[in-house]
Symmetry: C2
Subunit: 135 residues, 2 copies
DNA sequence: TACAAATTTGTAACCATTGCAAATATATAA
DNA sequence: TTATATATTTGCAATGGTTACAAATTTGTA
């Protein structure tokens, strides 16, 4: 799917920087932080600034085409996959894994039965512990 | 239940500051941040410092008797209720609500079926949106 | 081409959190 | 009790991720 069209369809005017950032998110499932995106895009867009990345991520999150992952204390991470899935942070190797959430539990109404009448815009499921490789 | 015994049973040497902080967490379900705890305890313990609160919260979290809630970008919040439940942040009034998670879904194995072999120490479920009062 | 609006950029500030060493409190041994 | 070692607390300085802001650049439009 064309990234430029994807941005436009989601109400975001495409620019060189925005396209490059969304491309990066969609092709790197590493949940990058701002510094990692800066280092990665610096070569192809030498003038890119961290402020632009912060602004763009905020814009993406507002329009629902990126998720803010706040599982790490220090850094915000971002994910271009906005389908409901969980994130597991290994407290030993610091790697961040996606994990699948059983489809039959995706029914938010049932899972969060006490939130009737609340307008839920974003759901995040975080786990911390030790991963298989580090055990 | 006596807070001093509760700390001891969880491997934490009780001190005036630690007891006061755990007492505060257990009697105030407001998910306070460090500043709020500092302001609240300053009167009864005039010498208390923010560093002590940070250190103590880290200790509580490590021993599993408090949860770190990182749903807000700026501030860390803490919860003395470590049973699995969700947190909802209203993006309008900024209030943080607890919400009940259906008991039959508490089976982590089923919910997180793809995390077999991982040692899960902490699970957090966050939602953001607009609360009933603000709609 | 000229002008207006939107976007990007760099720098300075902000501020929550941590590092660190001195001060204080607590536990232990003689 | 007194002396000594250990643990805890404290205040201040430093860190570093994020944001504010205004200038510079790019884009859209007439």
């Amino acid at each position: 799917m064309n990234t430029q069209i994807y941005l436009t369809e989601n109400g975001i005017k495409p620019s060189v920087q925005r396209i490059a950032l969304m491309d990066y998110l969609l092709t790197h499932k590493t949940h990058p932080n701002v510094d990692e995106m800066y280092e990665a895009l610096h070569e192809q867009i030498p003038t890119i600034s961290r402020t632009t990345i912060y602004n763009t991520m905020k814009l993406f999150v507002k329009h629902g085409i990126a998720s803010l992952i706040s599982i790490e204390e220090k850094n915000a991470r971002f994910d271009g996959d906005v389908s409901l899935h969980g994130h597991f942070l290994c407290q030993n190797c610091n790697q961040l894994y996606d994990f699948h959430v059983n489809e039959k539990l995706l029914n938010i109404e049932e899972l969060f039965s006490s939130l009737d009448g609340y307008n839920i815009k974003d759901t995040q499921i975080y786990c911390k512990g030790i991963c298989k490789n580090c055990k």
